[in-house]
């Protein structure tokens, strides 16, 4: 018997499937980008923060549930009425001989049966049967009475339960209203709490930033004060000595003028460094948080303050030397100062 021929070339299905599986695996790794992960992570928070996304139908849901419960607890009217009792049958010793027919035929039949009763008794003993049926009749009657009593009691109980239920359902309805309010209040509280916590965090960051700036300004002010004090003393000494000192004074004025040209007089130095449009800020540094910016600026200003001090002292000591040398020192001071300014502004 011949068998199946399997010949295929050019395409290897298993190989293609392997490649597809590899691609899927790679995709799985690549597909979940940072953005997607953030998106997935933010879902919970968003739901929490956005009041629109909180399930507003919960109250309805609870109400509906309680309505269902109410309908389930309603009693059917049947329970208040006794079930119809079967017709009672008076059974005595003569019942078995009586005929179902009325009139003469019934009487005749009764008589015949009565006459033949000894013969019947010969075959069957009716005594115990008649006795059992009589007992059963009595039992039935008692049972009927008992059932009637039970149904009456049940009806009373149902009335009582219904009243209680009405009372509790009205309380429940009131409670539901309160629950709805509680829910709304709680929902709002949660939303507000979340909002407040975020605002508080923002405020904390802003305070830190302001504190950093303040500290920086204080340091800068101190540095400037020291520089000014140091410079005042040699000026006073120099005014009494020579003409060269007057030329030195004019140099100082020129230097101040130059400095004042570089900095707007209405602002503090630190503010001018941070806010001046001429400073070379790139986008990345602009986006850094305030606190970090301020701390970095403080550090840089500390560094900037020291070359400023050194340059001014240098110029003071060399004031006695030639004009050329003074000019050189002035140039170096201004250049150093400029560079220090630029460095600090870059931060």
């Amino acid at each position: 018997m011949s068998e199946f021929r399997v010949e295929s070339d050019a395409v290897d299905v298993e190989k293609i499937m392997e490649q597809i599986r590899d691609r899927i695996k790679e995709k799985r790794d690549i597909d979940y980008t940072e953005e997607q992960i953030r998106e997935m992570a933010s879902v919970k928070l968003e739901r929490f923060l956005d009041p629109d996304k909180v399930r507003s139908d919960l109250v309805e849901h609870y109400r509906q549930q309680s309505k269902d419960r109410q309908s389930k607890l309603a009693f059917p009217d049947k329970l208040k009425e006794p079930p119809p009792a079967p017709e009672s049958y008076d059974f005595d010793h003569e019942s078995i001989y009586r005929s179902g027919r009325d009139g003469i035929i019934g009487t005749v039949l009764y008589r015949i049966r009565k006459i033949l009763s000894p013969l019947l008794k010969f075959y069957i003993n009716f005594g115990p049967i008649i006795h059992a049926l009589q007992v059963q009749r009595e039992i039935n009657e008692r049972q009927n009475e008992a059932i009637n009593w039970m149904v009456q009691t049940q009806a009373e109980f149902i009335d009582r339960v219904t009243k209680l239920f009405d009372l509790s359902s009205s309380r429940l309805a009131a409670r539901e209203e309160i629950d709805a309010l509680n829910y709304e209040v709680m929902n709002n509280l949660v939303v507000e709490m979340t909002r407040l916590s975020i605002e508080m965090r923002n405020h904390r960051m802003r305070v830190e930033s302001v504190a950093g700036r303040l500290e920086f300004s204080e340091r800068r002010a101190r540095a400037l004060e020291e520089a000014v004090q140091y410079r005042d003393d040699p000026q006073k000494q120099g005014s009494n000595k020579s003409q060269s000192s007057s030329s030195d004074g004019s140099e100082q004025k020129r230097r101040r003028r130059r400095r004042s040209r570089r900095r707007p007089p209405s602002r503090t130095d630190a503010a001018s460094i941070e806010n001046s449009p001429s400073t070379e800020l790139n986008d990345d540094t602009r986006s850094t948080p305030d606190a970090a910016e301020s701390s970095q600026t403080t550090e840089n200003m500390e560094a900037a303050a020291s070359p400023l001090e050194s340059s001014t002292s240098e110029s003071a000591t060399k004031s006695t030397e030639g004009t050329q040398e003074r000019k050189e020192s002035e140039v170096s001071t201004t250049s150093e100062h400029a560079s220090s300014d630029t460095d600090s502004s870059k931060q």
Binding site: V6, A10, V11, V13, M17
Partner: protein
């Protein structure tokens, strides 16, 4: 040579897999000898209600003899009995009661088989799981050839069928997977068995343009042909396709067949209902690929037809047969989850070269294995082979059924448990004719 083809239902308008299979085989073997179909009067496979008149009939030149069904199926009773034998410990008698409940119960057919055993050289029984096959093969094992059309369903684990698989003269399997699972469950490796399948009638000309004109469809599309049923994996297909449609794909999905489930309303899913063969093949010729989402198939004639049309297929990899067929033919891809579905469909949608190559492989696979001359030759060779052994098999009998007491002993394991223990996965073909199993042994 006179052959009897015994099948549960038979009719030109019946489109069930096994029934259509039987009709095609009957019509093609009729050219090589006299074929008579023995079937029931039923047309509905759920109730087996008598629909056709009993007696002789002729359909497409093949004589058909129909016998009445004595008892309609009670679906509730059948469901209860199925639950018992599939899920609980049970007895041999429970299994027989299940079979009787499943139907189509036709003692007249079995009686006829017994009385006219000598009128036919061989009896080809279709569908192992029905009343007619079990009792028919028990009545005349000497001349019985079985086309099991078995799927991986719990009925296969029932003990009543083991002697049937062991006792027939030969088995004509639909796929290597079917052969593998039956051999695993019954140990019938010594019984002659050929993987044959069924051929397909493809019209010489089909027109995609005509289909597009008739339906007004303009986009490229994938096609599904068959009953639109949850049991055929259509719910999963709809879910996956709707998800896939959200991507940059421009492929539509065209559905052909009667629905027994709700079809989602989607602008890219088009249901065309039941179409004639010409319309169906027109649609296939216009399609980019065929999608076969079914989990349980013993062969899938639609897949074969798609290959005959040079159409690549995308099949559900969870179905062992389809998975194996795709690997053997190199004419399609498979998926086992949405990601694979999406990637494979995208690949087939965008890679024209791949589509054409897979389609070419499919056509070649069809011509070499499923064209009618090949199928007919395999049947005829099997008959010749059996004829050589006929003398030696004169006293060939089936393993007797258990006695009265042991029949009622509840010592049989639930069939679903038995099925679970069988290896899964596609069976690969090897050059020595034995199927190597790619399956994971549980």
């Amino acid at each position: 040579m006179k052959l009897a083809i015994v099948v549960q239902r038979y009719g030109a308008e019946l489109n069930g897999g096994a029934e259509l299979h039987a009709r095609y085989v009957a019509e093609h073997l009729n050219k090589h000898g006299h074929v008579e179909v023995l079937s029931t009067c039923a047309s509905d496979y759920i109730t087996w209600r008598n629909h056709f008149k009993p007696g002789l009939d002729s359909i497409n030149g093949v004589s058909v003899r129909r016998f009445p069904v004595s008892k309609e199926r009670n679906p509730a009773d059948f469901g209860r009995r199925s639950e018992k034998v599939f899920q609980e410990r049970h007895s041999f008698a429970d299994e027989l009661a299940w079979l009787s409940s499943e139907g189509p119960t036709s003692p007249a057919l079995v009686k006829y088989l017994k009385e006219h055993e000598d009128d036919y050289d061989y009896h080809i029984f279709f569908s192992y799981r029905y009343y007619h096959a079990y009792h028919g093969i028990r009545a005349l094992p000497n001349k019985a050839i079985l086309v099991p059309t078995a799927e991986r369903d719990p009925a296969l684990g029932l003990s009543i069928f083991r002697p049937i698989f062991l006792g027939v003269r030969a088995l004509m399997y639909n796929s290597f997977e079917e052969r593998s699972i039956i051999q695993n469950i019954s140990g019938n490796n010594h019984v002659p068995g050929v993987v044959v399948g069924v051929g397909s009638e493809i019209p010489p000309r089909s027109s995609a343009q005509r289909f597009r004109q008739n339906t007004g469809l303009k986009n490229r599309f994938a096609i599904y042909v068959g009953r639109i049923d949850q049991n055929k994996g259509c719910d999963e297909l709809f879910r996956y396709f709707q998800q896939y449609a959200k991507t940059s794909s421009k492929l539509d999905l065209v559905l052909i067949g009667n629905p027994v489930m709700e079809i989602p309303s989607h602008p890219r899913i088009h249901h065309l209902g039941f179409l004639s063969d010409t319309e169906k093949f027109d649609a296939m010729s216009g399609a980019e690929l065929l999608i076969m989402p079914s989990y349980y198939e013993s062969l899938s004639m639609v897949t074969i037809e798609a290959w005959a049309m040079g159409l690549p297929v995308l099949v559900n990899g969870a179905c062992d047969v389809l998975h194996g067929q795709v690997i053997r033919s190199s004419a399609g891809l498979y998926y086992t989850n949405y990601e694979e579905f999406s990637e494979t469909l995208k690949l087939l949608e965008r890679n024209r070269e791949l589509r054409l190559t897979l389609g070419r492989n499919g056509r070649k696979y069809f011509q070499e294995n499923y064209s009618w001359p090949v199928i007919e030759r395999k049947y005829l060779e099997t008959f010749d082979h059996l004829k050589d052994q006929d003398k030696a098999c004169l006293n060939h009998t089936l393993e007797p059924a258990p006695g009265w007491f042991s029949r009622y002993r509840r010592n049989l394991a639930p069939s679903s448990e038995i099925l679970e223990q069988l290896p899964k996965g596609p069976a690969a073909y090897s050059s020595n004719g034995h199927d190597q199993t790619l399956r994971s042994q549980k």
